[in-house]
């Protein structure tokens, strides 16, 4: 037996994303953000997107390009403080923003990826972020029902992938990648390096191949992937 080959050309993989799609993006700041897949999405023109990502990157990077071109309708995120455009568009009503506590965003995605409908938590119960959400009394304690999140497409950056879509992430670029990989109807992973089957030892796989639909090779890393020198 031999595991199937999922390597796909960038344009062909991204062409499967329709306008109006809900798209999860890996990344916490720069590490893990799939900049090349985002660039291809920009080039192809999909719009009216719902983006789910920890943050909105920074000016001139990643999600910011999609915002600048008006491609995003709704953003589910934890913190957009490094992207003044995202804050301004939110305040002007040009995009809808739903803020979520960071670990709860992770758990909502993990629940979606595990085939569950919701999680129940006491996190954020004192805050306006949970206003209007269903509550449960558990053991005399008030808890909030947070709905699971799934998406049409997850776009993921991996350090290494094999041709079957087993993925390995580097350092803090892992963040949301293994979670969104499980919560999507279709997963497209860009990889800095695609290795032959067997070259990724089974114990070193962070996301197992069955979750991944398409593996896209990165020819070269654009400047966006580099170290950000802040003034």
């Amino acid at each position: 037996m031999k595991l199937p080959d999922k390597t796909t050309a960038m344009a062909e993989a991204v062409a499967r994303i329709p306008s109006g799609a809900t798209v999860m993006l890996s990344g916490f700041g720069v590490p893990g953000t799939p900049f090349a897949l985002i660039q291809e999405l920009l080039r192809q023109g999909q719009d009216n997107l719902t983006i789910i990502k920890n943050d909105a990157n920074e000016t001139g990077m990643g999600v910011d390009h999609l915002l600048a071109q008006g491609r995003i309708r709704r953003l589910i995120t934890t913190h957009i403080g490094l992207n003044p455009r995202a804050v301004a568009m939110m305040n002007a009503g040009e995009i809808e923003v739903e803020f979520c506590a960071q670990g709860i965003l992770a758990e909502r995605i993990r629940a979606g990826g595990a085939g569950l409908k919701a999680i129940v938590t006491d996190i954020g119960r004192d805050t306006e972020l949970t206003r209007g959400k269903p509550r449960l009394e558990i053991g005399g304690d008030s808890a909030v029902v947070e709905l699971a999140l799934r998406c049409d497409v997850a776009l993921i950056h991996a350090a290494r992938a094999d041709t079957f879509g087993n993925l390995a992430f580097a350092a803090t670029a892992r963040n949301f990648a293994p979670l969104i990989a499980m919560a999507a109807d279709m997963v497209i992973a860009e990889a800095e390096e695609i290795v032959p089957l067997g070259a990724l030892p089974p114990d070193h796989v962070h996301t197992p191949g069955p979750f991944v639909d398409h593996v896209v090779a990165l020819e070269a890393l654009s400047e966006e992937y580099g170290v950000v020198r802040r003034a």
Binding site: P31, I123, D126, T172, F176, A177, Y225
Partner: protein
């Protein structure tokens, strides 16, 4: 940003809150600066919510690993024994009592321990990031902040007016003026910056401040 002598003493004092063996998360801003006051051989595990336990020294841009940052975006490093993990694991650690201590910034801290540090309606609305879980679930929450805001208004108040991060979570407030505990009776002065008198601290505090009997330790 260069820190004044008083602020630098506050950061040095904050470092003394970290006991050997702790798992600690230092929030963005002033708390991050505490790292500079932890001796290289001190046994502590620093955690950052973007997926690293065992934070090593911050690196200059030339030496940085593009994939290795802390939650504030600083290029950090690993040390022997560090581990990387995903965001769900990272917050599982926070929510289940594995985090002994967090130090956070504040816009307002109330005498009942309520903390507001993520939103100023109409002016500052970036989202709360991981702050809610850190504030609500770390075993001990210490706020590290200037005693007053830029306009001179007290940050220690009777009740928070800004949207809360978490209710009743703060144990201690450390400022350039004083170390103040949140007690069932409200704010209690524990230590005072060298050269200050308690009346000055009380005047800069927007809620009643109880004073200890006898001499007040300085820092």
């Amino acid at each position: 940003m260069a820190l004044s002598g008083a602020h630098d003493r506050m950061i040095a004092r904050a470092a003394r809150e970290i006991a050997p063996g702790m798992v600690v998360n230092l929030g963005i801003g002033l708390p991050t600066r505490v790292i500079g006051h932890i001796p290289a051989d001190f046994p502590v595990c620093l955690h950052t919510e973007n997926g690293l336990s065992g934070i090593g020294p911050t690196l200059p841009y030339e030496a940085a690993d593009r994939n290795l940052i802390d939650a504030g975006g600083a290029y950090v490093s690993t040390i022997p024994g560090s581990a990387f993990f995903d965001s769900a694991t990272s917050f599982a650690l926070v929510r289940t009592g594995r985090l002994d201590l967090t130090m956070l910034g504040a816009f307002e801290v109330a005498a009942n321990g309520d903390l507001a540090n993520w939103k100023i309606p109409g002016r500052f609305t970036p989202g709360a990031g991981g702050g809610i879980e850190l504030a609500q679930k770390a075993r001990r929450v210490i706020v590290l902040t200037t005693h007053t805001d830029r306009a001179g208004n007290p940050k220690l108040v009777s009740r928070c007016t800004l949207p809360l991060t978490a209710a009743g979570c703060v144990a201690r407030v450390l400022t350039e003026m004083a170390v103040i505990d949140v007690t069932p009776q409200g704010f209690a002065l524990r230590e005072i910056a060298e050269g200050l008198d308690p009346a000055t601290v009380a005047a800069a505090t927007g809620a009643p401040l109880s004073l200890p009997e006898g001499e007040i330790p300085t820092f």
